[in-house]
């Protein structure tokens, strides 16, 4: 019962955001960066549903466009993390012995870093930008994907059918993609969904600190930063981006829980 609720609500929230993002690609009530000083810091009204910011920009339009950044950062960093994890994990799993030990200790060391600290260290190297935010967050995810892939490789490596396939001359890479990956697909998807929500949280935090996505790219985190100056004058300013971050994270967390639950039932 509870299991299905996780999955259903998660899917519902995520697809809602996805639709919002698709819509924002083609239509927003106002041009998100259009400034109208006359309208600055006006509260929610019929013309501006969520009010306007300190430059008179429409908050609904800006929040909608923010979904694009959130999905882009989430998808790209998860892709980087998964690709890196696949490489590191399969290398560790196949190489065995000391190479495995070294790689796993290295992932341990990375995992010992609290996420945001590692992200801050990585973004401090280059000038802040969307690309560097994605890279930093993506690197952050490599260890957890690597662990999933490695355990999958170790589990399946000894399994009879893999040996049988190898006997027919299939290479490591072939075995990895044809035999192993399908078997650990659900763990990877669970990790991906969870990483997606983590990516959104960290991107928001970095952008809030001014070290993430830079203008003119839209970002909920930076909107929160801007809103804080006008907290007493325009309390609505902080609501839309905050609520959207919460919904996205909630949606992907629930989705991750739901997938995991579904797998546990089958097992």
């Amino acid at each position: 019962m509870r299991r299905r609720i996780n999955m259903t609500v998660g899917l519902l929230l995520v697809s809602m955001l996805f639709v919002l993002m698709l819509v924002s690609l083609f239509y927003t009530p106002y041009e998100p960066n259009a400034m109208r000083i006359a309208d600055r810091l006006s509260g929610p009204s019929a013309s501006h549903w969520l009010g306007t910011d300190n430059f008179g920009r429409d908050l609904l339009s800006r929040s909608m466009v923010g979904t694009q950044t959130a999905f882009l950062v989430g998808a790209a960093s998860v892709a980087i993390g998964a690709a890196g994890g696949l490489l590191v994990g399969s290398l560790a799993g196949y190489a065995g012995k000391w190479a495995d030990e070294l790689l796993m200790r290295a992932t341990d060391a990375l995992l010992a870093f609290p996420g945001i600290l590692l992200a801050l260290l990585l973004v401090s190297v280059f000038r802040p930008s969307l690309l560097q935010t994605i890279l930093a967050i993506g690197i952050l995810f490599v260890p957890s994907f690597a662990r999933v892939v490695r355990s999958g490789v170790l589990q399946q490596r000894e399994a009879d059918y893999v040996r049988a396939v190898r006997a027919f001359g299939a290479g490591h890479v072939n075995v990895l993609f044809v035999q192993i990956l399908p078997n650990i697909a659900s763990s990877i998807i669970t990790t991906a969904a969870l990483s997606f929500s983590t990516a959104i949280l960290i991107e928001a935090a970095l952008s809030y600190l001014g070290l993430g996505v830079q203008p003119p790219d839209p970002s909920w985190g930076r909107m929160l930063n801007e809103s804080q100056t006008y907290l007493s004058a325009a309390p609505w300013f902080t609501l839309a981006p905050g609520v959207l971050i919460t919904i996205s994270v909630l949606g992907f967390n629930l989705l991750s829980d739901g997938i995991r639950d579904a797998r546990d039932v089958r097992a």
Binding site: P114, L122, V125, T238, T246
Partner: protein
């Protein structure tokens, strides 16, 4: 003994890897670090001076050895911006961040235990469902936005706490406590959610064990069984989770300090990153990461020591 030895070895190895990581991050930048700091308009002379100051004019291996030696003797170099030893800067900001994190731990303990018990007492019933919805929300709300909301509600609307006026602990502990309560609470909320989930699972697991039936067969009531037997045993693993969260709280405070303008590690690190003050960034990140690793190590050790079941294993 073997276990402790192995654990100590992994600890050392992890610290070394962290040292290498913090060292190499600023050396992999294409080109001269000094150039990256000063920008293209800098004169050759300026760049050479800075290179000497940073030590980047020497061979990489020497630099790495220097970095190791410095870390061992708590000499993390000199800040470019403040012209002060990095370790002194860390020491001056430590109290704010440390106490913020400790206050959060206290809040986590105070709220998560009653909530976890409420959820586990009648699994699947109203209280359990309410707690599960709250924990999902607690995990989803970014703590810095929670901080902004708390600030809006308690600071600006209700005027219960001073807004953005940090008072040092040495000046007025009571005011200091009040001015850090909101950030500590914002920081604690996601961690409360994690602990509640953990405690609920752990408690339900314990309540299903045979010894609980024995305790009931002695004539103990539900409360005595819960508080005297099951809770005690489920708190041990939960305590380690709280211990491990200390690192997360330290890191989380980096962001939350910005929301409340607290002069801790957060503002130091953010401004250091903005100023390209590499020695300071490097030293500060190393310090925080090393503290997290050491705290986790100590938590693990104390768990081994406290848990009578695995004492001998």
């Amino acid at each position: 003994m073997n276990y402790y030895f192995r654990r100590l070895f992994t600890l050392a190895l992890t610290v070394v890897l962290v040292l290498i990581l913090t060292f190499s991050v600023f050396r992999v930048i294409p080109g001269d670090p000094a150039l990256a700091i000063l920008g293209v308009e800098a004169s050759q002379e300026q760049i050479e001076m800075l290179s000497e100051k940073l030590g980047t004019d020497r061979p990489m291996a020497v630099q790495l050895l220097e970095w190791f030696r410095g870390a061992a003797t708590l000499d993390l170099g000199t800040s470019l911006r403040y012209s002060e030893p990095v370790s002194d800067l860390i020491a001056s900001r430590l109290p704010v961040t440390l106490i913020l994190a400790l206050e959060s731990v206290a809040i986590v303990i105070a709220f998560s235990i009653p909530l976890g018990i409420a959820a586990a007492r009648r699994p699947g019933k109203a209280a359990d469902l309410a707690v599960s919805v709250l924990t999902q929300l607690g995990l989803a709300v970014p703590s810095f936005w929670m901080g902004i909301l708390l600030l809006l509600l308690f600071g600006l609307t209700l005027n219960w706490v001073p807004v953005s006026t940090y008072v040092g602990w040495d000046e007025n502990p009571w005011l200091a406590l009040r001015s850090t309560f909101l950030p500590a609470a914002a920081l604690a909320i996601p961690q409360i959610a994690i602990v509640v989930r953990y405690l609920r699972t752990s408690l339900l697991e314990q309540l299903n064990l045979d010894y609980v039936r024995t305790a009931r067969s002695k004539g103990l009531g539900d409360r005595a069984v819960l508080y005297g037997h099951a809770l005690r045993n489920s708190l041990l693993p939960v305590a380690t989770v709280i211990g491990i969260q200390f690192g997360e709280l330290l890191a989380g405070s980096l962001v939350i300090e910005q929301v409340f303008s607290l002069p801790g590690f957060g503002s130091l690190l953010i401004s250091a990153i903005g100023n390209r003050d590499y020695p300071l960034v490097q030293g500060l990140v190393l310090f925080i990461a090393a503290s997290v690793i050491v705290v986790n190590f100590l938590v693990d050790l104390s768990y081994r020591w406290l848990d009578p079941k695995i004492k001998l294993r």
